[in-house]
């Protein structure tokens, strides 16, 4: 695997490989010495143009547990905020010997531009680009669902026939997009729930069902309910009238939690707006996988870094992109 840019072009075989290697990584995290020497001498740069402590720390932990050296670059107060271009930033990192660049950027497509530009030879991992994709999030979500369903018997399994419902601001959500493609690839059946203003104008080609009524979606008995954070920072007020109305119509409150099948799980990529899209009861219930998602995130990111860096790197992007 030369880069991990999205899940839309991730084959079923590659996706399962990442999830299965993540199982091995998770096992090592239960030992007394959690560290592996595998990526010793490799340098991983976290290139974060957007604030994100959680994802950055997760990638940092993953890299360090594999004994890689980690350099954190955050855009605030850096040369970028003084107008340095993506190209110049990238080439500086290349000159410093980065083997992998984990990039989070506000512009959709920036990781692909970085990977195909010829500015760097390092492997590129997309840690979230604009409203486009967040592939490691979808991978850790799939890992979590699989683990809850199959436990120690997860290796090699896909999510065939599993029903996943994703609720929230789909229009602006890279987590939603990455999950739609990956879950479909793994055989799951995906339903999207949102107010009509927060569904992209044309999703006719997506392998999903669209539902505007959350109660109806819950009555259909999904195996997993994924609540998306409502991104107040991204939108102007005209997407819905008030937070109160959004919460009433699209929030996972105690009543809706009780209406879910008893074995159904609740996921949330975090950070949560408690009381807005997810109530405290739902967030803290045993059905909630929020904390496991964080732990699984480190294992999945260890697997991604391992597959990108441990072996001989493929020579061209063509082997990897589409």
């Amino acid at each position: 695997m030369r880069h991990l840019l999205d899940t839309q072009h991730l084959s079923r075989a590659d996706a399962l490989e990442i999830l299965d290697v993540a199982e091995d990584m998770a096992d090592t995290q239960r030992r007394e010495v959690k560290k592996l020497p595998t990526l010793r001498g490799k340098t991983v740069v976290n290139l974060f143009f957007e604030d994100s402590t959680r994802t950055r720390i997760s990638f940092e932990a993953a890299a360090k547990r594999l004994s890689a050296d980690v350099i954190n670059f955050s855009a605030k107060g850096s040369s970028v905020s003084k107008g340095e271009s993506l190209q110049d930033t990238a080439q500086t990192l290349q000159a410093m010997g980065a083997d992998a660049v984990v990039i989070r950027h506000g512009a959709s497509g920036a990781p692909r531009t970085l990977a195909t530009s010829g500015w760097i030879t390092a492997g590129v991992v997309n840690a979230g680009d604009g409203t486009h994709e967040h592939p490691t999030q979808a991978l850790l979500d799939a890992f979590t669902i699989r683990k809850r369903l199959f436990g120690d018997d997860s290796r090699g399994r896909d999510l065939d026939g599993i029903r996943v419902t994703i609720v929230g601001d789909v229009l602006h959500s890279r987590v939603a997009r990455s999950n739609v493609w990956l879950l479909h690839t793994l055989g799951a059946h995906v339903t999207l729930v949102a107010p009509p203003t927060l569904v992209p104008q044309d999703v006719s080609g997506w392998p999903v069902e669209v539902e505007y009524d959350l109660d109806r979606a819950i009555a259909a008995g999904p195996d997993a309910l994924m609540m998306l954070r409502i991104q107040l920072e991204r939108m102007n007020a005209a997407y819905f009238p008030t937070e109160r109305e959004y919460s009433r119509r699209y929030g996972l409150d105690a009543r809706r939690l009780a209406a879910l099948p008893t074995d159904s799980i609740v996921l949330h990529p975090g950070p949560m707006n408690r009381g807005l899209e997810i109530s405290a009861e739902a967030a803290d219930s045993p059905r909630s996988t929020v904390l496991e998602q964080v732990t699984n995130g480190v294992s999945v990111r260890m697997a991604v870094l391992y597959l990108l860096l441990a072996g001989e790197r493929p020579h061209t992007e063509r082997e990897d992109l589409r």
Binding site: V21, T28, R31, E32, V33, K35, P37, T38, Y306, A310
Partner: protein, 176 residues
């Protein structure tokens, strides 16, 4: 290309039986032994040696597996390998005598990686090495404690171990 069979099924069975006795002799019985096979065929061999040792020694000896992929020093020179499963038996390895079991001992690098892996898992009292074939050409100061067969070979020759559970046949061949 010239292929020579150096061990047939009966030879392999006799070698494993002898190794099992030698392990018990060296350990003065089954107490504290833990057998860990190195994937892939080392695990198969460990699954045969384990019952033999238990039978001859009169007590059950735990058997597990130890994957060394993530400790190898030559990862970046080869296409990415998927790691295999590591299963440490319930009693752990602290204070135990761990016997590593592999099919072919060559440069010694796998065993060195295995020693690194063991170090991150616990603190055995002692570590021993059993191998079905020792083909020489060591690059590190590693020596086996129990050997099925010494097989002098040229560097560019290929030694193949085939076991029924995996390959459908039982034989050891050398190709030049």
């Amino acid at each position: 290309m010239n292929t020579r069979t150096v061990m047939h099924d009966a030879d392999i069975a006799r070698a494993l039986t002898r190794i099992s006795h030698e392990i018990l002799e060296s350990n003065k019985g089954p107490e504290g032994l833990v057998l860990l096979g190195i994937p892939t065929r080392g695990v198969t061999l460990a699954n045969r040696i384990g019952p033999l040792v238990s039978e001859f020694g009169g007590a059950a000896v735990p058997v597990g597996s130890l994957d060394v992929t993530m400790y190898r020093d030559d990862l970046h020179r080869n296409p990415t390998r998927a790691p295999r499963k590591t299963e440490i038996p319930a009693g752990g390895i602290d204070g135990k005598t761990v016997v590593l079991i592999d099919d072919v001992l060559f440069s010694g690098r796998s065993i060195r990686a295995a020693l690194d892996a063991l170090q991150d898992i616990g603190r055995p009292a002692a570590v021993r090495l059993a191998t079905l074939i020792d083909r020489g050409h060591r690059e590190l100061p590693i020596r086996p404690d129990f050997v099925g067969k010494n097989l002098p070979s040229a560097r560019d020759e290929r030694v193949n171990v085939r076991l029924a559970e995996i390959d459908g046949v039982e034989e050891v061949t050398i190709e030049s």
